[in-house]
């Protein structure tokens, strides 16, 4: 029979075991007083050793040409023009040719002054909350009237969640986040495949800005600033899908 462990929880032990050198020393000190923990640590060491023995030899196998060729081909072609920051604003130009301007009211669609903080905040919020199974939102869509009242009050301007049903996305709720000029509202939408997008809205005292596109590994956002509101729609979807959602969101927010 295995001795019981009392000093710390398994989660805490995991955090220490894979933490800093200081953390690991603390864990060793705890284990010295706790036979159950010592036993767990020995077991986890065995698990790690087995996983390394099983899978690390794969790294010694000769590399297939198809993987080496990825790098070889890249070496022969000139490197892509480095973007000064993460943001790729060229999408705004592409949108013009896609006929986006027709539905865009008076907004200017020229790539210009970047406002990366907005897109960054929206994408970070998307990444943080869209993966949440249990707590993606603070107030659910079933309480939409309360959600609208609450967010409008905290942002100091009417916030009405746009209807994205035409694109297959329904509101699942929203939450309040820290913001710059005002707190920010994050509205979360989901489609029937379980894909989520997050609409980030905050007050802006800055200049109005054209629609722009930002991209990072695993997440993208369209963002704009108009009529004192800075908005960004973030998700991990094909750009065309995100673009259509952005158009719907823009209309929903501006044609109240």
């Amino acid at each position: 029979m295995m001795p019981e462990r009392r000093s710390i929880t398994t989660e805490e032990a995991q955090a220490l075991r894979h933490g800093s050198a200081e953390d690991r020393a603390r864990l060793a000190a705890l284990a010295a007083e706790d036979a159950g923990l010592t036993d767990d640590l020995a077991d986890w060491d065995r698990q790690d050793a087995a996983l390394v023995t099983l899978y690390s030899p794969v790294a010694e196998e000769p590399l297939p040409d198809r993987l080496l060729n990825m790098v070889r081909i890249a070496r022969q072609s000139p490197p892509p023009r480095p973007t000064p920051v993460l943001w790729r604003l060229a999408a705004a130009v592409a949108l013009l040719s896609l006929g986006f301007a027709a539905g865009w009211g008076g907004a200017r669609l020229v790539p210009g002054a970047a406002m990366p903080m907005l897109a960054q905040a929206a994408m970070a919020s998307y990444s943080t909350y869209a993966v949440e199974v249990r707590h993606p939102v603070e107030v659910g869509a079933e309480d939409e009237a309360h959600l609208v009242q609450w967010l409008s009050k905290r942002l100091g301007t009417p916030i009405r969640p746009p209807d994205l049903a035409s694109e297959g996305f329904t509101l699942i709720g929203g939450r309040l986040l820290p913001g710059d000029a005002s707190p920010a509202a994050l509205l979360m939408y989901e489609d029937d495949l379980g894909r989520r997008v997050a609409l980030y809205i905050t007050r802006s005292e800055g200049a109005e800005s054209e629609l722009a596109f930002a991209e990072e590994p695993g997440r993208q956002a369209f963002w704009w600033v108009e009529d004192g509101l800075a908005c960004a729609l973030a998700g991990d979807l094909p750009r065309e899908t995100l673009r259509r959602l952005t158009i719907s969101a823009y209309h929903g927010l501006t044609e109240a």
Binding site: Q14, G19, L51, Y55, V58, L67, M70, P217
Partner: protein
């Protein structure tokens, strides 16, 4: 080190991680190829101020999740694909049996737990690095690791005897 050299140097490690994650040589190399393509295309986004390995793992895990979404309808069929035995080549006796047990148990873990455990155990990442690669909070990762380790222990015949009534059979 120039970007492409660093990418090339990372390929063997990515292959091992992908193989352990997907448990199929071709599918794993597909995933690595996909990851390399995305990383090279987004070369301009690499700021060089973090761990390239972490960035690559992050791309790989995003692609992995995208792939899961796409293949979900046929998941039951994919589950019947025999597991590769080449990982156990050259192993004998008890050692082979124990490793085969661990490999089989890894296959039974939920994808997110397997992905998390391999980042710390195989890749040797810290909790913070692994949480960044997975795009989740460190607390979430710690509990995911705890669950993965408990399940692994149970499935490899080292389950602790439960002392607490009501916990049995959970």
């Amino acid at each position: 080190m120039p970007f492409l050299d660093e990418i090339e140097a990372a390929i063997p490690g990515l292959r091992a991680y992908a193989r352990a994650l997907l448990r199929d040589r071709e599918a794993a190399d597909d995933l690595v190829q996909d990851t390399l393509e995305a990383a090279i295309a987004r070369q301009g986004q690499w700021r060089g101020d973090g761990s390239l390995r972490g960035w690559l793992c992050r791309i790989l895990l995003n692609r992995f999740r995208d792939g899961l979404r796409r293949r979900r309808p046929t998941a039951t069929v994919l589950a019947l694909v025999p597991e590769p035995l080449d990982l156990l080549a050259g192993r004998r006796g008890d050692d082979r049996l124990a490793l085969a047990e661990v490999h089989a148990a890894m296959g039974k873990l939920p994808d997110d737990q397997r992905a998390a455990l391999l980042l710390v155990a195989l890749e040797g990442m810290s909790l913070a690095e692994a949480a960044a690669a997975l795009g989740c909070a460190e607390g979430t990762l710690a509990s995911r690791l705890g669950r993965a380790r408990a399940t692994l222990r149970q499935l490899t015949g080292r389950a602790p005897v439960s002392h607490r009534p009501g916990k049995v059979g959970e």
